[in-house]
Symmetry: C2
Subunit: 204 residues, 2 copies
């Protein structure tokens, strides 16, 4: 086997492993969906094993902090007995918001693998890249686009269903879910803030 074949095989194995973990993050997102929450999920991996899972439960828990990423970070820290998640990687279906990106820097996590980007509110490169600011004392490696289509369509379909159900129940003239809802504002049915009405594709 040549060196270049070996290198290619390593890339393929690495890609397959990333997809395996992202698939579990999608399974977590489906749990959010089952609660009528915007489907966002993640897992945290350490030494090749999943040590924590999380999904969006913001409306269910009535808790600002109950994003998928923060739920997983809390569990991972508990599992490791340390607030530092050095040596860990997070797999998350959607680009993190400013709070979750901030928490990832604070956790000193090594890497974040992202399913799809969120051009309207993402803070791992879309609006700003909080994960790699030289001014902070930690930077996080970013890998994008793992199982992109599955992650993206899961959100698109969620918002399409939401709009449809609102259309059926709404009085004429009632504000409906915007065509391109901001996925990070995790309750677009209730949230009609100006930024959300500005449209612009929420998913890359």
């Amino acid at each position: 086997m040549t060196a270049s074949t070996e290198a290619s095989e390593k890339i393929i194995i690495d890609q397959k492993e990333k997809e395996r973990f992202m698939r579990e993050a999608i399974r977590q997102a489906r749990k959010a969906e089952a609660l009528d929450e915007v489907p966002i999920g993640c897992v945290i991996v350490c030494d090749g094993k999943i040590i924590a899972r999380g999904y969006n439960r913001r409306n269910t828990d009535k808790n600002t902090l109950s994003h998928a990423e923060l739920n997983a970070i809390r569990k991972a820290a508990k599992k490791l007995g340390d607030w530092r998640l050095e040596g860990c990687t997070m797999y998350v279906t959607l680009e993190p918001c400013q709070m979750c990106a901030g928490a990832l820097v604070q956790s000193r996590i090594d890497e974040v693998v992202i399913g799809c980007m969120n051009p309207k509110a993402g803070c791992a490169g879309s609006i700003i890249n909080l994960l790699q600011m030289a001014a902070f004392n930690h930077q996080v490696k970013i890998t994008e686009g793992i199982l992109h289509d599955e992650c993206s369509s899961m959100l698109t379909e969620f918002f399409r269903r939401l709009r449809r159900s609102q259309k059926h129940t709404a009085d004429p003239g009632q504000t409906s879910v915007p065509e391109q809802a901001d996925a990070r504002n995790q309750s677009p049915a209730q949230d009609q803030s100006p930024a959300q009405d500005q449209s612009g594709a929420p998913l890359s």
Copy 2:
């Protein structure tokens, strides 16, 4: 009473109220200090009343998320039964980090009143101003410098004591706490990351 006298009296009353709430935030910070945590505390006020309190417990809880601000946001959301903290104001002894500033935007809180700034890691204007980015769907009003000297000296003294105690116990040559520790890296005794060794005043 002239209109200008009335306006001046209103400013004085307003200032006194802000100081009253900041004093309670300092009391919270002292609880952190009692646990050998970096003294950072905060309260959240709604309709003129404190609805939640929080202090830094990151090392004690072994939890990345256990900053003063996040602890208070979680409690306030529970109290109000809503992840949205609209109509609320946070009083915090030190400028929030990237995670806490992000959480404040996510919470839709109205205002943040800050004791002293953190030029090395603060995200309400020092490194970046996450609270007032036009690209996000919410901006937070910022008031700075309420009980500045008390808030600032509380931290300076904490780090001075820490350095002194380390000097007494350390072997010659052991790494000591840097002269100007980064207050947001809430365990400088254990944390000797490069950013911390760069010095630069941590408090304004």
